[in-house]
Structures are given as C-alpha cells and as structure tokens.
C-alpha cells in the first residue's frame, strides 16, 4: 500500500471515530450525568466514620436525588454532603437535628454544650462517634451542602438503610446495626 493511501485510511478512521464520539458517546455520557444529577446515583463510600452501618473498606450506596428530596430529609436519615472544610470531598453522615432543634454537641464531654441548629442548617454526625469528623467540629451544616439521601447499600451486601432512629425525650437512640 502506498503511503498516501495509508494516510487517507487513517484519516477516514479518525473521522469516523470522532463522528461516533460526538453522536453517540458524548450524548450518552451527558444523559447519564443528567440522570445522576436529577434522579440519583450509585456511589462508593469509604472510611470509618459510619461504622457499623457502613463498612470500613467501602460500601457502594444508592443515593436518591429526585425532585423535592430536600423536603423529604428527616432526622435519622443518612445523607451525602460536601465537606465544609474541603469542597472536593464528599461524605456520608446521619442527620441528628433539623433547623430549630436544640441538641447536645458531645454527650461524652464532662462539660456539656448545647446548640440550636440555625435556619437552613442541619446537624450531622457519623454513627461511629469516636472516629468521625462531623458537626461536632464543623458546626451546623448548611442544607445547601447536602447532595442526596442515602436509601440503600447495593454492594457488597445489598440491604436497605432505613431511618431506624428513635428520639426519646432528652436523648437520642440509634439502632445502627439492625
């Protein structure tokens, strides 16, 4: 084959690849992104802060983000949020208080401190109180930093992650390991 024909063949191949990329791959990727943004996503989670509800080595969870999800977030729900200390980091924590609620910052301390959650904020804490960076350090988190409600764990052991929290007057009781 002559060099000219080889180049022409390579050019045609590049052109058809680019056409498929623009017509098929790009719209499909954008459509998937829109589904992730407006319906929900399946995303990995890591770290010790949600033990024993979520695994240390990494669970893959189903995050819901259908229209109106912000109004459906209740005390006891697991939520995905963007860390106020680092916009590139996401984390999963449990909502322990909504706007207007008064709660104890850290019941294990000798001197108890109480806060009232301001308008438009939530109080988030990990289930593993001894190893979790949460509202105890960040303070109340603006609701605008929430990025979805965690509904279930899909991998490695598929199960629902229901809101199984009881609020007894004066204290909070979680049944995380059910």
């Amino acid at each position: 084959m002559s060099r000219q024909r080889l180049f022409a063949g390579a050019g045609r191949f590049a052109w058809s690849t680019a056409k498929i990329g623009v017509r098929v791959v790009l719209p499909t990727a954008c459509l998937l992104h829109a589904v992730f943004d407006y319906a929900g996503e399946i995303s990995p989670s890591m770290g010790p802060s949600m033990l024993p509800t979520l695994n240390l080595a990494g669970d893959t969870v189903l995050v819901e983000r259908l229209p109106g999800w912000r109004r459906r977030v209740q005390v006891g729900d697991l939520v995905v949020f963007i860390s106020p200390a680092n916009p590139a980091r996401r984390a999963i924590k449990r909502v322990l208080g909504g706007p207007g609620d008064t709660l104890c910052v850290d019941p294990t301390k000798d001197k108890l401190a109480f806060v009232q959650v301001p308008r438009g904020h939530v109080w988030l804490q990990g289930d593993n109180y001894s190893n979790s960076t949460d509202s105890r350090t960040h303070g109340p988190i603006p609701q605008a930093l929430l990025r979805g409600r965690v509904l279930a764990c899909v991998w490695p052991s598929p199960r629902l992650l229901p809101n199984n929290v009881e609020i007894v007057p004066g204290q909070f009781v979680g049944h995380a390991s059910d």
């Binding site: 790009l26 916009p87 590139a88 438009g120 605008a144």
Partner: protein, 180 residues
Amino acid sequence: MASAPKILWRRRVVGAAAAASVGLFVVDNMASLQMVTGRSMQPALNPDSNRLRRDVVLVDKMVRGELAERLRRGDIVTLASPFDPDRRLVKRIVALPHDCIVPLGRPDALVRVPKGHCWIEGDESFHSSDSNSFGPVPLALVTSRAVTPVWPPSRFGARLSSLPEWKKARVYVNGTERLA
C-alpha cells in the same frame, strides 16, 4: 419493518434528545446565563435601581468541587444562601481560606477564614447581608462565577470591576501580608 418516514421521525426524536442532554450538561456544569436581582452588587451589577432593568450575566460554572481552587479574591460569584438552600446570593469574594480579614464596622476585630471557606461581601454594604453578618461561608456553596454582563445590550461584554482598594486593605493574605 419500519417505514421510511417512521425511521426519519425516530432519528429526529433521538437527535433532539441527544442535543438536549448535551445542552443540559453545558448549562448545568460549564456555562450559562443568569439574571441578577437585587441591589447588593451595585454598581458592578444592576447599576440602574429600576426593577425593570435587570442584568443578565454569563456565568462560569466550572468552580465546584476541586475546581473551587480557580476562585480568586475579587471574583463575583453566585452562591446558595447558607440559610435557605433555594435562595441564591450574588456577592464578591473578598478573602480566601487562611486569610485574615477585618470585618466591616468592627475595626478592632480580625477574623481568620477557615479551611475551605471564603469571606463574601456585597459591594453595596448597606443593602447586603453577607459575611459581615453571618461569617465565613463554605466555598462549596459557590455555584458559579460571573464573567461578563450580556444584558442590557449597552453593557454587553463590559469588564467587571475588581476588589476596591479600601477592601483590599482589610485583607491579610494567609494572615500575614496585607493585600493592598
């Protein structure tokens, strides 16, 4: 076997859906147009107080997540209100993480902006609820950065003013050197 017009229609519908999803991605994640209401950014935006004349600005949305590092002092940004997730504010970034700033009206105080946060102020201090009232806000609340006005036509492509000198004088970069 589908008939020819049927195939043609199917192609049109699929093509429109593909274009719409690409368009939605661009508008949500790269750049879009936003209307600015309110007077907290006068005179940079909405210089005319008449309610019928609202500026429309071209905004750059590639400032979220890791891209928050692209934000600079003096950038005009839109951000979600810390007190209402559905409300959007338009303010100017005055100080970035680890800077120190003297809040307005409290000349003896010095506030350190924590990691991942920024200090935002409206240009019109009298008509603005900003970091001077609620403190530093997380950079993650910032949703976009204003690039240039596109409406009204007389201001199309106008350069947005930067941080005024008297505000720069209140900022200590990384808590040490004064910005101006």
